[in-house]
C-alpha cells in the first residue's frame, strides 16, 4: 500500500499557465492574421516611427541650443572614424597585392594544432 500523492498546487498553476499561454497565443495570432489587423498594425507602426523621428529632430534642436552634440552628430564622427578605418583597409589590401604578404593581420604567434584529425571511427579502425 503506497502513500497517496500529495496534490501540488504550484504544479497545477504551472500547467494552467502553460495552457493559458498556448490558447492565448493561438487566439491572438489568429486575430493578427486578418487583413484588417495587418493594415492597422502597419499604419500604427509607420505613425509611431515617424513620430519618433520627429521627436528626435525636435530634441536635436534643443541639444544644439544647449551647445551639446546630437546623436546624429556623434554618429557622423563615428562614421568618419569608420571611413578612416575603411581607407586603411583599402591601403592594406593594396599593400598585400603589391608585396604578396598574407591578407590576415599578424596575430600573436599561438601554435596552431596540425590539421590531421580523423573521424573517431576511422582512427579506431587504423589502430586495430
Amino acid at each position: 500500500m503506497s502513500e497517496a500523492k500529495l496534490p501540488d498546487p504550484a504544479a497545477m498553476l504551472r500547467d494552467m499557465l502553460g495552457q493559458w499561454e498556448k490558447t492565448s497565443n493561438e487566439a491572438m495570432t489568429q486575430l493578427m492574421a486578418t487583413n484588417e489587423f495587418g493594415r492597422a498594425m502597419s499604419q500604427m507602426t509607420s505613425m509611431s516611427l515617424e513620430a519618433k523621428s520627429n521627436f528626435s529632430e525636435i530634441f536635436g534642436k534643443v541639444l544644439t541650443g544647449m551647445n551639446l552634440p546630437t546623436r546624429d552628430e556623434l554618429l557622423t564622427v563615428a562614421t568618419q572614424i569608420r571611413d578612416v578605418d575603411a581607407r586603411l583597409d583599402r591601403i592594406e589590401t593594396l599593400l598585400v597585392k603589391l608585396t604578396g604578404a598574407s591578407p590576415v593581420a599578424a596575430r600573436p604567434a599561438a601554435p596552431r594544432p596540425p590539421r590531421t584529425r580523423k573521424p573517431a571511427q576511422l582512427a579506431d579502425s587504423k589502430k586495430s
Binding site: M1, N25, M28, S46, A78, R115
Partner: protein, 358 residues
Amino acid sequence: MSSAPTEAGVAARVTATVERAIQRNIKGLEYFGSAAPVVGASERDLIHSRGTMLLYHYRPLADEIFRIPVLLVMATSSRGYILDLAPGQSFVEFLLKRGYDVYMLDWAPPTAAEKHLDLNTYVNDFLPDCIARVQADSGETDVTLAAYCMGGVLSTMYMALNPDGPVVNFVTFTTPINWQKMGLFSTFSDKRWFDVDRLVESLGNVPPEVIVASFDMLRPVSRIAGNIRLWDNMWNDEAVTAFRRLERWGNDTLPLAGEYFRDTTKKLMWENGLVERTLELGGRKVDIGNIKVPFLHVVAEHDHIVPYEASSPLFKMIGSTDKEEVILKGGHVSLVAGANAQKRLWPRLDQWLQERSL
C-alpha cells in the same frame, strides 16, 4: 491502493514551499541589483572587420584539428553569442572540443552611414571577403559554411552564385526560403498596406525595437508567461542565469540596414524570389539548383519564426545529391542553443561533418 498522505509528507511539502517563497523574495531583490550574466564562452580573435561585418577566429581547443575550417554565419538581426553562450552551453565550444577550426561571421549594428548596404553587398561582398580571409588565415582552400536563419539565406544565395567553390560543405539551420509561408511576417508586410519605401526613407536603418516587437507578436503572451516562470524559478540560480542569458540575447537585437531591409521585403517577401527563381544579385540569377556540394538542412519542428513550410523547399530545390534533412524537436532558438541542442543537434552535426572535414 494508496493511503492518505502522512503528516510528515504534508509538513515536508509546506516547508519546501515556504523556503522557496523566502528564496524568491531574497533572490528577487538580488536579481534587480545584479549585472547581466556574462555571455561568450570561448577565446577568440577579431581577424577582420569592415563596418558592420566582423570576422572572428576561435582559438582551437583540440591538439589535432580537422583539415577543413568551419565558417559560421550569423543572422543579420542577432548577435553571434547565441552560439557561444557559456562554458558547457556553447555550440562553438562543442565544435572546438570536437576538433574543428571555427570562424564566425558576426555583425555589429550598422551605422546611419551604412543604410545603403543591400542584399548584394552582403552576398557578393561581405561573404566572399570573409571566406577569402578564412582561407588565408587557415591556409586551406576548402571551407565549410554553416549558417543560421537569415545567415542561411545569405549563404544560400552566395552558394548559388559560387557553385564551383571554395565552399565544399554547406549546412543551414532554420533558413527561410519560401517567404510566402512566413506566417504573420507575411501578413504584417503585405504590399497592399506595408509601405517599405516610406519606412526606409524616413528611418534610414530599421531600428531593433521594430524587429523585437515583430518577433514578440508571433507569440504575444509568451513574454508575460516567461516573466511569471522567472518569478516561479527565482529560487533556482541556474534557471535564472539561463533565462537571463537568453533574455539578454533576445533583447540585444541589431538594427537592419535600410536598403537590405527594403531588398528583403521586396525581393524575398513580396516576390518570393528564391522559390520563384526570379532573384538576381549583381546582375546574376540566383538559382538554388546550382548548389551541388554536400548539404545538411536542419529544421526545428516547432519553429514559430521560420515554420517548416518556409524552410523545407531548400532541401527539395538544392542540386546536391549528397543531401540530408534533419527535423529536430524544439524551436527557432532551442534548436541551436540549450539542452535540446546539446543532446540532439550538436552530436548529429558532428557526425555529419567529421567525415566531410578531412
